[in-house]
């Protein structure tokens, strides 16, 4: 766990339902051996990245004090993303030395991201949000974004 980071990243109380039941992420129940589902830390990172990508930073109005994503489950690559986002958001590389500030930035982006996803899930016909997101990603790949990294592109 990164020095200065709390044990958990926290979310807004309103986020929990989206993480669990909106269909954005697979439900936790019914795990089958050999089939891994994303843990909360991975969901949190995705929500944060989605929030940053869509410039959706939102203050937490009511923190869920139970905590959501264990920071020790954030891998080194995830930490790199967190620091990059915090740096870009504040415009100062020194931000990465201020753990508290970094946490605030990423929790707010995760809240913004998951709120946006929740809204999209509510508007899209049931069960089709994943397909929409999938198509958007494929579009990005086909438009040559990261063309060098995409074997099909």
């Amino acid at each position: 766990m990164r020095l200065g980071f709390p044990m958990f990243f926290e979310i807004d109380e309103s986020d929990e339902r989206i993480y669990k039941d909106s269909g954005v992420f697979p439900p936790a129940a019914g795990d089958r051996p050999g089939v891994l589902k994303p843990n909360n830390a991975e969901k949190f990172l995705l929500a944060m990245a989605y929030g940053f990508h869509n410039h959706a930073r939102l203050k937490l109005s009511k923190r869920d004090s139970a905590g959501f994503a264990r920071t020790e489950y954030i891998h080194e690559e995830g930490e790199a993303l967190i620091d990059a986002i915090a740096t870009i958001e504040t415009g100062s590389l020194e931000t990465i030395l201020d753990a508290k500030r970094v946490v605030t930035v990423v929790e707010e982006y995760a809240h913004g991201g998951v709120t946006l996803l929740g809204q999209r899930a509510a508007q899209a016909p049931r069960g089709t949000l994943m397909e929409e997101i999938e198509l958007e990603l494929l579009d990005q790949l086909e438009q040559g974004v990261l063309a060098d990294a995409d074997p099909a592109g």
Partner: protein, 640 residues
């Protein structure tokens, strides 16, 4: 032997109706005409019920109704009514003239009432049943009372074995066989008597007796196996008729079961593949969404590096030493609170921050580069997972579509009934095969035993030949042997004659009935008494003939059996013209007319069905009754 009168009281739709069948004309032909539902078939049922206690031709919808007449309003719960059916018979011999009477209701009774010197004499229950056997034996009733609509079924349901049984029974071959059996046991008794006192001969006789006993058991078992085979054949055919036209449904149902059993695991696989594809997609999404941040972050780092801020160009320990020594590396003094010392202290803070940043940035740079170096692999993994998922989805979609189609196709079938019928069909087909195998085994065993029996017989005769007692018994034994041989020959001749006659009569009547006379070139009974009709082309035609033609074949065969057996019972036919029409129907009427010169014929016909042959039959009828109905009750009127 003929039926003089049928009287029905409170039997189904009949409250109190009598039908008289007088023998006043050259043709003993009687007709009952009525519309559907007025009780023609039930009149035949009443006759069967009276004689055998069972309503052989009851329709499924009537099976649940009470036998007692209840009119349109139905029977009140506390109302009991006595049902009575009486059948008056007459025959050449006085002992065959009388009335069979069956009652049900308050008391159940079955009796045979005959006139006697003192008035009447009654035989009740089992005694009365013995008399029924003299008129129309229960085992043979299907050849005397029959449903024309189902005639072709008779033809197929009655296998060679039942034809042989009917033939033997009606032609008294069964009787010859019983006498033969008695004589053979008498022969064994005489041989025993002759062997008495000689242990060797006694042993031979005992061995022969053992073989005979085993032979009897095997013969009885053979009969049972043949009966079982026949029943299995009939049941198999009956269920085949139910399944007929639904064969596809049975196959489809099997396929449905298979698809349904595959769909569960298929859907689970799809769910798993979806999760795998989603996990791969999350990773790609994470990288694409944060790509901008990482790119900008790298730009900031590069800028810092180009400004030589990262890593700091000077080590913090060098700055610290200057402060500790209060002297700059350019040897200028750094007194307390001097602007120079403040500048060096600011430099130290800057260097420390940049060092900390440098330390913190190192893993970030490593993590980010690892993340994006793996992107190509992650996109590849996602595409593979998506393709795999698509394949599974397509497969499941195809399976679901197939299932939907099957369900739609099965909708029109009564699948439960068809499945049950198919199960029963397979079950009886299995019994049929096993019984056939058992019959083959038993026949071989019986043949061997007969050989053994003959050898023992010869050994006994050789052993007994010199004994005095045998000389005394010789005459009796010889007489018995001659009688047995004579009976066996009579039996054989009778069977052969019967077969030839039935075959010839069947062929003649069948050809008479056909309107296209040159379409079939032969009709015959095979060695196993199976019925065959040969098409002009030489091929077997029975199975492919039209329904009406099959009915004609069945009528021809039944009439041939009657003629040849010389059994004088009446023939009662419901729906006699079956599905015949045109010339074939007229031919059928003509055949019944001919038969009615020699025996009583009672026909139950629909008004419409009868009209086209009325010109042939009406002038010759001995009696004609018209059925009429009102308020659930049938009445009969004699038409002059």
């Amino acid at each position: 032997m003929r039926i003089e009168r049928v009287r029905l009281r409170n039997y189904r739709q009949y409250r109190d109706v009598s039908f008289a069948y007088p023998a006043t004309r050259e043709h003993d032909l009687h007709l009952i005409v009525g519309d559907n539902g007025l009780g023609k078939t039930n009149l035949m049922n009443a006759m069967c019920w009276c004689l055998y206690g069972r309503e052989r031709y009851l329709s499924e919808q009537n099976a649940g109704l009470p036998v007692a007449h209840c009119g349109r309003e139905g029977l009140p719960a506390d109302y009991s009514v006595s049902v009575e059916v009486g059948l008056s018979w007459s025959a050449d011999g006085e002992s065959m003239t009388g009335v069979f009477e069956r009652q049900d209701g308050d008391r159940s009774v079955f009796r045979w009432i005959v006139p006697s010197a003192t008035g009447t004499e009654s035989y009740v229950g089992a005694e009365a049943m013995k008399h029924v056997e003299r008129f129309i034996p229960e085992a043979m009733k299907d050849y005397f009372f029959f449903d024309g609509e189902k005639l072709q079924q008779y033809l197929f349901e009655h296998s060679g074995n039942s034809v042989r049984q009917a033939l033997f029974f009606l032609s008294k071959v069964t009787l010859i066989e019983t006498v033969l059996e008695h004589m053979k046991s008498l022969e064994v008794d005489l041989q025993k008597k002759a062997a008495k006192g000689d242990p060797n001969t006694e042993a031979l006789v005992s061995q022969k007796e053992g073989i005979s006993t085993e032979l009897r058991t095997d013969n009885a078992e053979l009969l049972l196996a043949e009966k079982e085979k026949e029943t299995a054949f009939q049941e198999r055919e009956r269920y085949a008729r139910i399944v007929h036209g639904h064969e596809d449904a049975v196959e489809l149902a099997k396929k449905q079961e298979l698809l349904e059993s595959q769909l569960g695991p298929g859907e689970a696989t799809e769910r798993d593949a979806t999760l795998v594809a989603q996990a791969a997609m999350y990773r790609v999404a994470l990288l694409l969404y944060s790509r901008e941040a990482v790119t900008k972050f790298n730009a900031i780092l590069e800028e810092k590096e180009s400004l030589r801020q990262l890593p700091p160009p000077i080590e913090a320990s060098v700055v610290q030493r200057m402060l500790d020594d209060a002297q700059c590396i350019c040897e200028r003094k750094l007194p307390e609170r001097s602007p120079e010392r403040a500048a060096i202290e600011a430099l130290k803070r800057q260097v420390l921050t940049n060092s900390a940043l440098g330390d913190a940035v190192r893993p970030i740079r490593g993590g980010a580069s690892a993340l994006f170096m793996g992107l190509a692999r992650d996109v590849g993994a996602w595409r593979t997972a998506r393709n795999h998922l698509d394949t599974i989805r397509q497969f499941n979609i195809q399976r679901r579509a197939e299932l939907r189609e099957i369900k739609e196709a099965l909708y029109k079938h009564d699948l439960a009934t068809v499945r049950e019928a198919q199960r029963k069909h397979d079950e009886f087909a299995d019994v049929f095969v096993k019984a056939t195998e058992r019959i083959g085994y038993l026949k071989g065993k019986i043949e061997d035993a007969n050989g053994d029996l003959l050898r023992k017989q010869n050994e006994i005769e050789a052993a007994n030949s010199k004994k005095q007692i045998v000389v005394q018994l010789r005459r009796e034994l010889d007489l018995l042997k001659r009688a047995i041989a004579c009976l066996e020959k009579a039996r054989h001749d009778r069977i052969q004659l019967m077969r030839r006659c039935v075959e010839s009569d069947f062929k003649t009547t069948f050809m008479d009935l056909m309107w296209q006379k040159d379409l079939y070139k032969d009709a015959y009974l095979d060695d196993s008494y199976g019925i065959h009709v040969v098409h002009l082309s030489g091929s077997e035609a029975l199975a492919t003939m039209a329904e009406g033609e099959k009915q004609c074949a069945a009528v021809a065969f039944t009439l041939a059996l009657h003629e040849v057996a010389g059994y004088p019972g009446p023939i009662v036919v419901d729906f006699p013209f079956g599905r015949t029409n045109g010339q074939m129907k007229e031919n059928m009427a003509q055949v019944f007319l001919d038969v009615s010169r020699r025996r009583q014929v009672i026909l139950f016909v629909l008004k419409d069905e009868y009209q086209s042959v009325a010109h042939l039959l009406d002038p010759e009828l001995a009696s004609k009754h018209a059925l009429a109905g009102r308020s659930g009750e049938t009445t009969a009127e004699v038409i002059e």
